[in-house]
């Protein structure tokens, strides 16, 4: 075995596509350059923001400057950490629960038409209910602990994953299905060798949406009834006009969402290498 396809002898007309990667990684797509550019963009926005606040003498309780936000991040680090933890738990709990249920139901849909026709409209109906309206109902039903928050985070992630997963499991090529038939593959083998891997890129598209959505769900749920968590902190900081803390909380929430998004993208690159999305934020 030679070092790779590019190093092996290639034959005339067919060799053209044998090394697609080599010629592409030129200046424009250089990752270092891309990172630098996005950092510069962020810095520019922060500088402009600071300048506007100073020039127009905006009062502290209306809006915080980037420097004040940074100060709050440093001084209130402990408060932020204590309140980030429950939100992280709820987000991950909801993310896992919502996606696992969605995947299982999607698999059921693809293999059983009756199940699909009974449950799909129901799932769509649940989706049409506004999440802000369901939240109090779930708090009444499930109490004041983690349960309603996880339920809401799960609910908000459930639908995109269900829809994408159903599409993904059905996205198998007609000729590939014929191939499986000619090989006398069982339903399970068709699933294991064809449907499941075919669906993975679709699943990961959904998971990237779900990663930020589940955090949103957890925060909204904390608004309804909670005395801890980032959602609670946002409300408390707003009522007390502790604007820098409010901004710092937003920054933490946004960092969490980015981290989750990043983990999903890394997993995707590892598990679905045949379809890299280049999903760098």
């Amino acid at each position: 075995m030679t070092a790779g396809p590019a190093a092996a002898p290639v034959r005339g007309a067919e060799a053209a596509a044998a090394s697609p990667v080599a010629s592409r990684a030129l200046d424009r797509d250089n990752p270092a350059r891309r990172t630098l550019l996005s950092l510069l963009g962020i810095l520019a926005v922060l500088a402009l923001w600071q300048a506007v606040m100073v020039v127009f003498k905006v009062p502290h309780f209306i809006a915080a400057t980037p420097l004040e936000t940074a100060g709050a991040l440093r001084d209130q680090a402990k408060t932020l950490a204590i309140n980030a933890w429950p939100t992280i738990l709820e987000t991950i709990g909801g993310f896992v629960a919502g996606n696992v249920i969605a995947i299982v139901i999607a698999i059921g849909f693809v293999h059983n038409r009756t199940f699909r026709h009974t449950v799909y409209p129901l799932a769509v109906a649940v989706r049409t209910l506004p999440i802000v309206a369901i939240s109090p109902i779930l708090v009444l039903l499930l109490g004041n602990g983690y349960a309603p928050k996880i339920a809401i985070a799960a609910l908000i992630t459930f639908f995109p994953t269900l829809v994408n997963m159903v599409d993904g499991l059905n996205a198998v090529d007609a000729q590939a299905q014929e191939l499986m038939h000619v090989l006398s593959a069982t339903k399970w083998e068709v699933f294991r060798y064809l449907r499941w891997p075919t669906s993975l890129p679709y699943l990961f598209s959904a998971l990237r949406i779900a990663s930020t959505a589940s955090l949103l769900g957890a925060i909204v749920a904390e608004w309804i009834g909670s005395n801890k968590g980032l959602g609670y902190l946002i409300l408390a900081a707003t009522y007390d006009y502790r604007t820098p803390l409010l901004y710092a909380t937003m920054a933490v929430a946004s960092a969490l969402a980015l981290a989750l998004f990043g983990v999903i993208s890394l997993l995707e690159n590892y598990l679905v290498p045949w379809r890299r999305t280049g999903g760098t934020p």
């Binding site: 044998a18 697609p20 590939a176 000619v182 045949w274």
Partner: protein, 261 residues
């Protein structure tokens, strides 16, 4: 295995095929009767969309005929499929993008645990060598050109030692140069493995160059218009394409096709 050793590779008796559509019935095949001997290379030639691929799918037990009967090696197509007497190469390579070239070739051995109960005459590695892809075992489909992918598909079709190889316009999506090259390769491979090949094409030159017999089909509903024996010796050489015989066969087939349309 109930497939018979001395039976014809394929027997079609008055095969007809109709599809029920919302606004009526679409008749695709009518009265196809054909016998293919073992070891024979037969092409089905006809205009696009005439039903030659449908006929191939009847033989492969993908579509049951609505009329007549089909037999592969003396058994039903379903039996032939279950015993892996049939291998199929599609218009597209249909490689699984998450598997390497060698894993793609080995897929038929994994399905149904075939590889655990049978010893194939050639390993996936040997087959990749046979189709001229030595050293590409670990390459993934996206790293291979269209022609190379189709070579992998041919190796995959051969891995469970099928007696009959069904090829559905396998080189139709490739450029002319690659296509000519793969025609050469296919003849070389066929010369080594000597399976029965049923080859669907709409290229007259390809049909003449490859086949022992060419079956000319009419537009839909497809019927057999003419069967032409190509009496050119194997191994065939590219320079044969410039001989008067080759030109005569091409003209004969073209006339039959025009007659048909």
């Amino acid at each position: 295995m109930s497939v018979m050793v001395d039976a014809p590779a394929i027997e079609l008796g008055d095969v007809g095929m109709s599809f029920a559509l919302p606004d009526g019935v679409l008749e695709v095949l009518r009265g196809i009767t054909l016998t293919v001997r073992q070891g024979e290379f037969v092409s089905l030639l006809g205009p696009s969309g005439c039903g030659k691929s449908t006929l191939l799918r009847v033989i492969a037990d993908i579509l049951p005929p609505t009329q007549g009967h089909a037999a592969v090696l003396g058994a039903s197509p379903a039996e032939a499929r279950r015993t892996r007497a049939l291998g199929m190469v599609f218009q597209q390579p249909v490689l699984l993008p998450w598997l390497s070239a060698e894993e793609n070739v080995a897929l038929p051995l994994r399905i149904g645990g075939w590889g655990a109960h049978h010893t194939p005459s050639a390993s996936p590695e040997a087959l990749l060598r046979l189709v001229g892809l030595e050293g590409f075992n670990r390459a993934h489909p996206r790293q291979l050109s269209g022609g190379m992918q189709q070579r992998v598909a041919i190796a995959r079709a051969l891995v469970s030692d099928p007696k009959v190889l069904l090829m559905d316009e396998p080189f139709g999506a490739l450029d002319a140069i690659t296509r000519d090259r793969l025609n050469e390769e296919l003849l070389r491979i066929w010369g080594q493995v000597r399976r029965t090949v049923v080859f669907v094409t709409h290229s007259i030159a390809e049909a003449v160059y490859l086949s022992m017999r060419v079956v000319v089909m009419s537009p839909r509903p497809a019927r057999i218009r003419k069967i032409v024996e190509i009496d050119l010796p194997y191994p065939r050489q590219p320079k044969m394409k410039d001989t008067p015989e080759f030109t005569r066969y091409s003209a004969e087939l073209r006339a039959a096709l025009e007659d048909a349309s």
